[in-house]
């Protein structure tokens, strides 16, 4: 069953360019959205019960014939599958309206599906080299999606993204090669067991540094963040939502967390490095966001800042810290996707991303304005929305771990976030309506529907956070809390 997460999007991606010849819009829209809805339902109904007794290994089958493919599912990978499926489904719905003026919808959805298959494969892998392969699969599709508009900005941003991403991949591959040379394996269990037996701390330090640089680049952690403020704004809005909402988390944060906590084991040195990088990212991203006039660029810098919170939480290493970090990862997927989709709706209606030229848009785009306010308040950590609870958990975890200075800095970062999001809201949606926008209309139905769904989820997750924590997040935090024991249980995987 788990193989469906990879094979369904991959097969559909192969068929879509052909089906696109028969129907340029309806079939691609319908099939892509249906596939994502199927994976979302499969996650909730089919995959979640599988982890009731902890992690499972499932052998893939092809028409009931067993394949030599084994997939690993635990609470952490389930949370990521759920996040990917949820955001992908909403993005597909949004794309029905948004991608009309780009054309080539079949090719667009095909690339999007390959990216999703790559992320799903990465999340279900129990092997370092397979993680690398699926990382590349998602990355290659994402380069093309960033450049999809084919304007000079898009092509330049995609090229920069490709170059830095290739450097990241080289770091990751080098580290995997060294681990393979030393331990004789690339499976999580084999590497964890090998490192435990050999006791090679210096080598683990070098490999950790390489993974940190590689996955840090993918996650856009400071100081590896320079590609993101160009790549994410240049992409079509639904792709910006996918990149900021999901891809940097899967290819950066997920992979880094899996390796550091699940294979190497979190050491005090790693905790220091991750928490410091987390706090630096919070401030560099937030301070850079303040000065931005391009709405999508501001959101991109904000992503760097919010990823800092996720890494800070996970880096603490305590059960509450990990829980807070994962909760913020999930929440950020919701509100940052929402905010990018809103920015896309504004750009589509007004033709500009410049905040200076906007103003008073709430009068002509009320749905976009209301959902944008919800997203902004959520990301700033205003109670009782979802962002408040995840940030609160991280701050309590910092206090419990006696990292008081970091806790104060995390609160300060949240205040700065509230500041620049209020500025964004004021400049874009409130005040006097700019004369030029009097004829502007609300975004088309499917685009508005997607943003309303995400805004409602931000509110619902905030109000029902104990349920969400108990259902999706606690199993993920428990899986990570076991450290390398999870990997050691899967020796021979």
């Amino acid at each position: 069953m788990l193989f469906l997460y990879i094979i369904v999007p991959l097969l559909l991606a192969g068929l879509l360019p052909l089906l696109g010849k028969l129907s340029k819009r309806l079939l691609p829209d319908l099939l892509a959205s249906a596939a994502m809805l199927f994976l979302l339902v499969l996650t909730v109904i089919g995959a979640r019960p599988l982890i009731s007794g902890g992690g499972v290994i499932q052998q893939a089958t092809w028409f009931q014939a067993p394949l030599n493919i084994r997939l690993l599912l635990d609470g952490f990978s389930l949370l990521m599958l759920f996040t990917i499926a949820l955001v992908s489904f909403v993005v597909c719905i949004y794309s029905i309206g948004y991608m009309e003026h780009y054309g080539a919808k079949a090719n667009y959805y095909a690339l999007l599906l390959v990216m999703i298959a790559g992320m799903n494969g990465l999340v279900l892998s129990g092997d370092l080299f397979t993680i690398y392969v699926f990382l590349e699969m998602a990355a290659v599709a994402s380069y093309a999606l960033v450049a999809f508009g084919r304007g000079p900005d898009e092509l330049e941003a995609a090229f920069k993204y490709l170059m830095l991403s290739a450097v990241a991949s080289a770091f990751v591959l080098l580290s995997i090669a060294v681990l393979f040379a030393v331990t004789g394996g690339v499976g999580f269990g084999a590497v964890a067991q090998g490192l435990k037996t050999l006791n090679v701390r210096t080598l683990v330090g070098i490999c950790s540094a390489l993974f940190l640089a590689g996955f840090g680049l993918k996650a856009a952690l400071v100081p590896f963040h320079s590609w993101l403020p160009d790549a994410h704004p240049s992409a079509p809005a639904p792709i910006s939502a996918m990149l900021s909402g999901v891809l940097i988390k899967v290819s950066g944060v997920y992979a880094m967390t899996r390796v550091f906590l699940g294979v190497f084991g979190l050491t005090p040195a790693l905790t220091t490095v991750l928490t410091v990088l987390g706090v630096v990212s919070i401030f560099v991203g937030a301070l850079a966001a303040i000065g931005q006039n391009d709405i999508k660029r501001m959101l991109a810098y904000s992503s760097i800042s919010q990823i800092g919170y996720v890494v800070l939480g996970i880096g603490i290493g305590t059960p509450l810290g990990i829980l807070g970090g994962l909760f913020h990862l999930f929440n950020h997927a919701l509100f940052k996707s929402l905010l990018f989709l809103n920015a896309g709706a504004v750009e589509r209606s007004t033709g500009t991303r410049s905040l200076d030229k906007m103003g008073g848009l709430a009068k002509v785009m009320p749905v976009t304005a209301v959902t944008s306010v919800v997203g902004s308040l959520s990301i700033a950590g205003v109670p009782p929305l979802n962002g408040f609870w995840s940030k609160l958990l991280i701050i309590i975890a910092l206090v419990q771990a006696k990292m008081i200075t970091l806790a104060v800095l995390a609160v300060l970062g949240s205040v700065i976030t509230l500041w620049y999001y209020l500025v964004l809201q004021h400049q874009a949606f409130f005040g006097k309506l700019n004369e030029a926008w009097k004829s502007v209309r609300e975004a088309p139905f499917w685009m508005s529907a997607a943003t309303v769904v995400l805004a409602l989820l931000c509110v619902a997750v905030g109000l029902a956070f104990p349920f969400v924590v108990g259902t999706w997040l606690q199993p993920a935090a428990d899986a990570l809390g076991q450290g390398v024991n999870v990997a050691l249980n899967f020796i021979g995987f």
Partner: protein
Amino acid sequence: MHLFLLIGLVAFSAVAILCRELLKSAISLAVASIFLALLLFEMGAVYAGVFELSVVAGLITVLFITAIALTRGDGDVAEGRAQRWVFPLFFAGLAVVDVLVMRKLLGRIPAIQGGESGSFSQVLWNQRTFDLVGQVGVISAGVLAVLALFRRDNGHGKGESHE
């Protein structure tokens, strides 16, 4: 022999980066690939050597040279002076670290015997099947990227509307 091939590989890789002309750079890269292929043959990795020689040194070089031939020379791109010394400096630093630290360090580490065993096809088809699915995905992504970025219709007007 190994040392000679390794020096050739590193030297031509460095020339590929330092070269000011794209054509010479692509040819240097191809020569570096040939050295790598020979190294792989020497070390008994025949399949990897064949792939390196045919795909990287052969096919990709042809693609590079074709792309360079199709590119119009609209004047030199201005490049900062820092570009000229950053790589050589980085390269020299890395070489020093490699000689002083890594060699000694790796020599002290006892490698565990094991890993994937069997013939190339057995490993590829029976033990790394999941990676093959991933490879299919990577190739699909490349093909779809070409289809999407070189499409004929241009009805979006997106790039022009950016501020």
